[in-house]
């Protein structure tokens, strides 16, 4: 297993955002994390990437406990994250933004810039290298977020809703990019609301609801799980759907 979390609990004062959540991400997979709004998905990512210290539980990276490591140390190990609310370096252009990422593994400026250019090309930002990050469209910013994380040459990429806010054709464009990243050997763990993408990309899906892990399995199995349907649609929804005789998938 590439990544494993064991009974992660994250409390903010009286609010328990994540409650004893365990999951495992297999090397080379695309694993999904879904759940209703406010389920604690982004909090879970923040714990995995080291931005939050969990109240309880452990984060294991290739079998080693990394719960106490700082975010930059985890980035060095090969864990890269994107932010749900994009966080570009506003004052910098696209190439400079990505170069900050590629400097992690390439101390020399020329190497870092060459790597950044290659990454930009790969996510489809090759034509906008000189654009200030603040000039990009929503889709462009999402790609930039992806490019920066990718430039750190991660082993595990945590994608926090990279498809949110994109229109269907933009989503169609970016799905093959994500798959290609995995095919190059980067394990992907993604939070996603766009079910089309989850069904399309993920091999395994975890479902978080009110901070608790309520289901795991293949996307199709998870979507038919009564507990998952109730978490999304309310108590009794699964029974009503079954009564209607409509198969939910």
């Amino acid at each position: 297993m590439m990544l494993r979390t064991e009974t992660i609990t994250m409390r903010f004062g009286g609010l328990t955002a994540v409650d004893q959540a365990s999951l495992a991400v297999r090397k080379g997979s695309i694993t999904g994390l879904i759940g209703p709004n406010g389920a604690g998905k982004t909090t879970m990512f923040a714990v995995i990437a080291g931005f939050l210290q969990p109240t309880g539980g452990q984060v294991l990276w290739q079998g080693n406990d990394i719960t106490r490591l700082k975010p930059h140390q985890r980035a060095q190990l090969g864990i890269a994250r994107t932010f749900q609310i994009v966080q570009p370096f506003q004052g910098l252009n696209v190439l400079e933004n990505i170069t900050v990422g590629s400097y992690l593994r390439h101390p020399h400026t020329d190497d870092a810039i060459a790597k950044a250019r290659a990454v930009a090309e790969r996510v489809g930002l090759g034509g906008e290298l000189e654009q200030p990050a603040s000039n990009l469209t929503v889709a462009g910013r999402k790609r930039l977020e992806l490019a920066r994380a990718l430039a750190t040459e991660p082993k595990l990429l945590l994608l926090d809703e990279v498809l949110a806010g994109l229109n269907p054709s933009e989503i169609r464009d970016i799905i093959p990019v994500i798959r290609a990243i995995r095919d190059d050997g980067v394990t992907i763990f993604m939070i996603e609301h766009v079910m089309q993408a989850v069904m399309n990309l993920c091999e395994e899906v975890y479902v978080l609801a009110q901070g608790q892990m309520i289901a795991e399995g293949s996307p199709a199995a998870v979507c038919n799980d009564a507990g998952v349907i109730e978490a999304y649609l309310g108590k009794g929804a699964a029974a009503r759907i079954a009564n209607l005789g409509g198969a939910h998938a």
Partner: protein, 322 residues
């Protein structure tokens, strides 16, 4: 390390080096000496406040530590001026590290950090004013011992060249940072700390390096001041005036840019002197000019003089590659 990037720096320095040869005016020499000292202090500020975005309102802290380290070591122990200079750099860097460790580790940013720096500078001013070691309110007067070995010069031109050499080193360091990984990390920290962290930047370490380097550079300016005037007291060394000068010059010249502090200092003090020559010796008239310029920069040209250049003459601005 592309030599091309250093050409503007070399040209500017060479042009300034000619000034003492061409003009022999005493007033101009005094003006240039002060301008170079302030430029160096401002270059120190610019690394921390400009490139790394950690606005300091108390760079007098470092300037004064440079002044007093150099002055006290020479005054009390008769230590050679050059050795004292090196120790002043170490003291400046150390002071930066301590101040940075205390404030950055506690997560202080923005105006909170600015206030802490101001507090440290004021604290030192009061201490230096009270302590016998620092000469109290009377200050310390160094003996006149001209000679390169004592970092004192009979000819004004020699001192100007020394100060210019310091500024040149400051420019080279700033330029080298601008094209390096460290520079990119500083800018990343300025623009967005969380994003920087996610990309593997050790934010605390980067800030500590920046403030140590910044402190050493501004301390070097303090040493220059002492070697030029052979006198220091608390209101000069730790006075608010130098905190403001060190901050104003990069803002006016171009915050975070290599040539920003130099251009800002020359612009500000050039305007100040011009006004003085028109308006006579009305006390504080140059400060009023500074205020107007600052308001103008904040309201209309947030990138300073170099920002304006970039807007109206992008070709030239790119050639300067500031």
């Amino acid at each position: 390390m592309k030599l091309n990037n250093y050409i503007p720096i070399i040209l500017v320095t060479a042009a300034l080096a000619l000034v003492p040869l061409v003009f022999s005016s005493n007033a101009l020499a005094n003006f240039m000496a002060m301008a170079l000292i302030i430029t160096l202090a401002a270059q120190g500020w610019n690394i921390l406040g400009g490139v790394a975005g950690q606005t300091s309102f108390g760079h007098a802290f470092f300037f004064g530590i440079g002044c007093y380290t150099a002055a006290m070591l020479q005054f009390h122990f008769g230590i050679n001026a050059w050795v004292a200079f090196i120790l002043a750099l170490v003291a400046g860097a150390g002071a930066g590290f301590i101040l940075g460790f205390l404030s950055f580790r506690a997560g202080l940013r923005g105006s909170y950090f600015a206030l802490i720096t101001l507090a440290f500078a004021e604290l030192m001013r009061i201490l230096a004013n009270a302590s016998e070691w620092t000469g109290g309110a009377a200050g310390l007067l160094l003996k006149l011992k001209p000679g390169l070995a004592n970092m004192q010069f009979e000819s004004r031109a020699s001192f100007l060249w020394l100060a210019l050499a310091f500024v040149f080193v400051g420019l080279v360091i700033s330029r080298a940072i601008a094209g390096s990984r460290f520079g990119a990390q500083l800018v990343a920290v300025r623009e967005n700390e969380d994003a920087a962290r996610a990309l593997g930047v050790d934010v605390l370490a980067v800030k500590l390096k920046a403030i140590s380097l910044s402190g050493a550079m501004t301390a070097a300016a303090g040493v220059l001041y002492v070697q030029n005037f052979l006198y220091i007291d608390a209101n000069i060394g730790f006075g608010v005036w130098i905190s403001i000068e060190a901050l104003l010059a990069p803002l006016v010249g171009g915050r975070g840019l290599v040539l920003g502090p130099l251009i800002g200092t020359v612009t500000l003090h050039g305007l100040g002197e011009l006004t003085k020559s028109f308006a006579g010796r009305t006390p504080g008239i140059d400060l009023m000019v500074f205020a107007v310029v600052l308001i103008g920069v904040v309201a209309f040209a947030s990138g300073g003089v170099l920002g304006l250049l970039r807007r109206f003459a992008p070709g030239l601005a790119r050639r300067i590659a500031a």
